[in-house]
Amino acid sequence: MPTIRVMSAKGDDLLEKWDIDTGVEDLKLISKRFDVQCAKGFSAFTTSGTRLKSFSPEIQEDIIFIAPLVGG
């Protein structure tokens, strides 16, 4: 089961909502939350750097969500 990481500044709030670290293993719920984060503009990557467009139970690596970026 992968661990979900989110960016630090506001990550704590998001992490609580995910419940991943507390052992919830409902894949449908995780998948739904994954889509919600993506809809907010967060991008998901595996820790080795592969971009994830959707959640798959086969993913063994940790997942990190990065905050939306904009051009300066």
């Binding site: 630090s8 500044a9 990065i66 970026l69 051009g71």
Partner: protein, 172 residues
């Protein structure tokens, strides 16, 4: 009564300080205190193993950062810890020591991006800066190192998106 007449006499012969002079002395004292306070902040010892950031970043425009005078905000420290966990050891070390990480372009192997927490990202070709890439988090309250981490992952995993989002300036 006696004291008041003494002060009046002193003011008449020009020895006692005038009210305007007292205000000037007060303003001067406040200015000196602020200078001393700023010097103390600049020389404040940062926690071991953390990345020094430019004063403008640490005491940035946002209230969140300005509240943490003299030390890195906890969100920035947390971001630096996350970066140290997620990046390869050599890059995490380079970031800790030099305050920047380098990542080679996957689409244009001759290009190399150098990402700083407190400066615009530079693009190198054959060891020379050929341009800059301006990109930042949509939410300005994210700490600088989170932006570094975000840029790193976007460059590594989806460089075409990075190229689409960032504003590039070419340097000759």
């Amino acid at each position: 009564m006696c004291e008041a007449s003494w002060l009046e006499n002193m003011m008449q012969i020009g020895i006692a300080p005038q009210p305007n002079a007292l205000i000037l002395i007060g303003v001067g004292f406040i200015a000196l205190a602020r200078i001393a306070s700023n010097l103390l902040i600049e020389n404040h010892e940062r926690p071991q193993g953390t990345v020094p950031l430019a004063r403008s970043v640490v005491y940035g425009r946002s209230e969140q950062f300005s509240r943490h005078r003299g030390q890195l905000p906890s969100s920035e420290l947390k971001a630096q810890r996350l970066l140290a966990e997620l990046l390869p050891r050599s890059q995490a070390r380079a970031y800790r020591r030099m305050g920047m990480i380098e990542i080679r372009s996957t689409l244009f192997p001759e290009l190399l991006y150098r990402i700083y927490p407190d400066r615009i990202t530079e693009v190198f070709e054959d060891g020379a800066v050929v341009g800059t890439a301006c990109i930042h988090t949509r939410d300005p309250l994210f700490p600088p190192t989170d932006r570094v981490l975000a840029e790193y992952f976007l460059l590594k995993g989806d460089e075409s998106s990075y190229l689409r989002i960032a504003n590039f300036s070419r340097r000759f």
